[in-house]
Symmetry: C2
Subunit: 210 residues, 2 copies
């Protein structure tokens, strides 16, 4: 067990593992996980096909690793959003802005999630679903701290959080498919997303008074 200046064996292994994940993310963004070819993947990485199995027992396992990786990136976005404006009234604007920014900078992660959420292998679909539910739970506890909403039941908060998460997921997917050469399309998507959030908030504020 010697830690020299050069690369240790574990480090090398981890490096190729990450290279596989990188290449897989690119390929899956184009063709989907179900159509992923082991040979093309390993060719892109620069290793021989059989070497793949030194890192993953199956393509499904690769898919689960990609889910972990993608949602780790997403979680970072959420942390950023939460930290940003705790009480600022422009929370809607800034939240949508952060979302859009992350969709662009981490495009492949979002593409992967969008593609596989209902597209691919059942086990991957289920993993994504579980992660999104986790998000909803977190969002629900955040919402509970807001004024006007502190009297809501946990279930109603979850319902509202679900609505918000779905709207934001749809927004992200719309942005992904927006033509890059026409920025006004994206601006329209952003405006729609902001309006929808505002609509939900207004609905929430007047919920119990009906």
């Amino acid at each position: 067990m010697e830690s020299t200046a050069a690369e240790t064996r574990q480090e090398r292994k981890e490096r190729t593992r990450q290279a596989i994940l990188d290449a897989a993310l690119d390929l899956v963004a184009e063709e989907g996980l179900a159509a992923l070819s082991l040979r093309r993947l390993t060719r892109a990485v620069g290793i021989v096909p059989t070497a793949f199995y030194r890192h993953f027992a199956s393509v499904d396992e690769l898919g689960l690793a990609l889910v972990d990786r993608s949602f780790a990136s997403l979680r970072q976005m959420i942390r950023e959003t939460r930290r940003g404006n705790p009480e600022f009234s422009g929370v809607i604007r800034s939240s949508v802005s952060i979302l859009v920014q992350h969709v662009h900078s981490e495009r492949t992660y979002f593409r992967f999630i969008a593609r596989e959420r209902f597209g691919g292998v059942p086990v991957v679909r289920q993993a994504i679903r579980r992660e999104l539910e986790l998000f909803e739970r977190e969002l629900a506890t955040d919402l509970a701290r807001l004024p006007d909403l502190d009297t809501w039941t946990a279930e109603d908060l979850r319902v509202m959080a679900n609505l918000i998460v779905n709207a934001m997921v749809s927004t992200a997917e719309d942005i992904l498919d927006a033509p890059p050469e026409r920025p006004e399309v994206e601006r329209e998507i952003v405006r729609t997303a902001e309006k929808q959030l505002r609509l939900i908030v207004v609905g929430a504020a007047n919920w119990r008074s009906t």
Copy 2:
């Protein structure tokens, strides 16, 4: 040009064409359009691989035909919903009920749309997007006829319609993935969908007063 009791040539062709669409719908529901194999498809139909090209120039064209077919089924659902309760206050309950019922009876169509909306070939994705936009437009004109909403701008109505359509699409996808042996899960999804629609309606009713 003779119309005997037996089958005419056009009829036979149309029959195999429909058989191809049927088989494709089943296969795509399991593996996705990108992973669809021409040979397995034609084997399922009972024809030779090359015969496929007598009906479709490419797999993409098949995909577009499937989009048409699926949305034709969806449109029928919408018509049923619209006809049902024009002014009945339980319109939310009955709309969700009709949606759920159709998701079950036309499961493969919904599966196809859910899978390919963000999953597959770009041209198919685009076609689905266009059809959903059409839905939003129709829904927006329906909403315009409601009291309290007749003063809304066309754009705001579109925004609201978009939110509703996305919520209903998400609901449909949740139902598709719900375990059939646990009906209480589906009941929970239905309750959530109803609450979300109510939340949106309440938000809309109080929109301009803020």
